[in-house]
């Protein structure tokens, strides 16, 4: 059985990784829009 504390820790890592990747994409989008204008 996998320890529940380990799964919980990975769950928070999972959410944090989603936030980081979405922020990086937003940054790329803003940078791309800036270049065009």
């Amino acid at each position: 059985m996998i320890p529940l504390w380990l799964l919980t820790a990975f769950h928070y890592v999972s959410l944090a990784s989603a936030v980081v990747v979405l922020a990086l994409l937003l940054w790329q989008f803003v940078r791309g829009s800036g270049r065009k204008s």
């Binding site: 799964l7 890592v13 959410l15 994409l25």
Partner: protein
């Protein structure tokens, strides 16, 4: 009904947005390279999004949530194999592929193992892409039908029309942009849903008492052999398949290719298994979902009885799980957010389908038309061929999906077919390349393919060993048996590798200066 109106409205807005992106992308398509390779200018973070969106199809999203609900978290842990192969491909293969400036997987095989290996690779690519495309088209119809209750034929027609439309006019440029949008919706939808459900049930400690006994065990309620075979099938089943190979070709340079593809693997490894575990365990513990699943199971058994078919309660329970995710979404979230989740699920399927469609058009243009029919074709002719190929293969795949809607069977066949022929040559090409090994590679490709097809008729005692595992074993065995017998033979013209210019990677041993 009001709930469904929200969901249908969100889905309609999402499809309209895809069409608008298709129109905008079409304006940027001037050459065949724009259409098939997006002008080779995609930055790593966008590459990460499009690769991850391609990876998360219907199977990896709602399919795996249902599987976790059925067998426990083992199902989600096994999917780590997909993400590990992406990390490996990104770190070691992507820079090489980008550095060689090739257009298709066939080009790579010709550069390393000659034209005979190229033709075998092209046949494999075509079989994989046709099967995967038909399966994803069928998935669009099935998913929309099970979630929204839209008739399968109508859902297939609408979803396929939108996908074919933006892929035909905008090529891979439109595919990359729509994939990025689909990725954002997917990550936002799945991430928010897992966070809300985790809080609602008091974390894993709160879920454990109501979850199934085997849920948190590493192998769930399956045998260790079954889990290992499953893991292996996932590890090699999609390794180096054309939709990922194309992501390597379209990057700005070798560095962007490496971190775009490997980044997608790292992100998915961190994000998807845990989100799937939370959603799948929530299905097990939510009383409303369990009640709905029980009713659906009884309904399925009653229908089977009416038709005179034999069906065990366990099989009916398994089939009923197709409504698990939509039911969970509706019982937990506000209709507006449920609408976003529905769009996210449809997005998962469409983003995998459009990649197969785009790759298939590139194979027809580059590996068939330019190579065999018209080697001197102008760029505008190639562009037209690629566009018509997208349209016609899209329509043909929709026709197949209309006729055969069993997604799992189609996907199982193409995955079993791909790995035994293609994975070993990629490894040899990248880590152990020598022209004296070309005959052994070609022999392993043919024997691996034949062995995996023959193993489909295996005795029931070996049911747990899948055709992909058996075919790969035979391919490796034949490679090492043929190698000492052929390493001294002179190369026939069809086995002569064709060197390619590789300005992107100065360390590439194949670089022609």
């Amino acid at each position: 009904m009001a709930d469904r109106s929200f969901e249908l409205g969100t889905l309609g807005a999402y499809l309209a947005l895809l069409l608008w992106i298709g129109f905008r992308s079409a304006r940027q398509v001037k050459t065949s390279e724009d259409f098939t390779l997006s002008g080779r200018d995609v930055p790593w973070i966008v590459l990460l999004a499009t690769t991850a969106a391609t990876m998360i199809g219907g199977g990896a999203s709602i399919g795996m949530v249902a599987k976790v609900a059925e067998v426990g978290i083992a199902a989600a842990l096994v999917t780590c194999a997909w993400h590990l192969q992406l990390i490996f491909t990104g770190l070691f293969i992507a820079p090489r592929l980008r550095g060689l400036n090739v257009v298709t997987v066939g080009d790579f095989f010709e550069a390393k193992f000659g034209s005979l290996a190229r033709e075998i690779a092209v046949v494999n690519c075509a079989i994989f892409l046709i099967g995967a495309l038909a399966a994803q088209m069928a998935a669009i119809g099935t998913v929309a039908n099970s979630i929204l209750g839209i008739p399968y034929d109508v859902a297939l027609l609408i979803g396929a029309t939108v996908t074919i439309f933006y892929s035909t006019i905008g090529g891979i440029r439109a595919v990359v942009k729509t994939d990025t949008l689909q990725f954002v919706i997917l990550v936002f939808g799945i991430g928010t849903a897992s966070a809300i459900l985790f809080a609602k049930y008091g974390g894993f400690w709160g879920m454990e008492p109501s979850a199934s006994v085997h849920n948190f065990h590493v192998t769930g309620n399956l045998s260790t052999t079954r889990v290992v075979s499953w893991f292996f099938a996932f590890l090699v089943g999609e390794t180096f398949v054309p939709p990922y190979a194309v992501r390597c070709f379209i990057a700005q340079d070798a560095r962007h290719a490496r971190w775009g593809v490997a980044g997608a693997g790292i992100f998915l490894l961190l994000f998807l298994p845990l989100a799937t575990i939370v959603l799948g365990t929530a299905v097990q513990v939510d009383p409303e979902v369990q009640q709905a699943l029980g009713e659906k199971s009884q309904e399925i058994q009653a229908i089977a009885l009416e038709k005179g078919e034999k069906m065990s309660p366990a099989e009916a329970d398994s089939r009923a799980l197709q409504i698990a995710v939509p039911t969970l979404i509706r019982t937990t979230f506000h209709p507006a957010f449920a609408g976003i989740m529905v769009a996210a699920i449809i997005a998962a399927v469409m983003s995998s389908g459009d990649s197969c469609l785009s790759c298939l058009a590139t194979v027809v243009m580059e590996d068939v038309y330019r190579r065999h029919l018209r080697p001197q074709a102008t760029d505008s002719q190639l562009l037209r061929v690629a566009q018509y190929s997208t349209l016609l293969t899209g329509i043909a795949a929709t026709g197949c999906a209309w006729r055969f809607s069993n997604i799992a069977e189609i996907l199982e066949f193409v995955y079993d077919f791909w790995a035994p022929a293609m994975v070993l040559p990629f490894f040899v090409a990248v880590f152990w390349y020598d022209q004296r090994r070309i005959y052994a590679v070609v022999a392993s490709m043919v024997s691996g393919m034949l062995a995996s097809v023959a193993w489909r008729f295996r005795p029931p005692a070996y049911e747990d060993v899948g055709p992909a595992l058996f075919g790969c074993g035979v391919a490796v065995l034949v490679f090492f048996l043929v190698l000492p017998l052929t390493s001294g033979l002179p190369l026939l013209s069809r086995c002569q590798p064709v060197p390619r210019f590789s300005p992107q990677d100065p360390d590439d041993p194949d670089r022609v200066s």
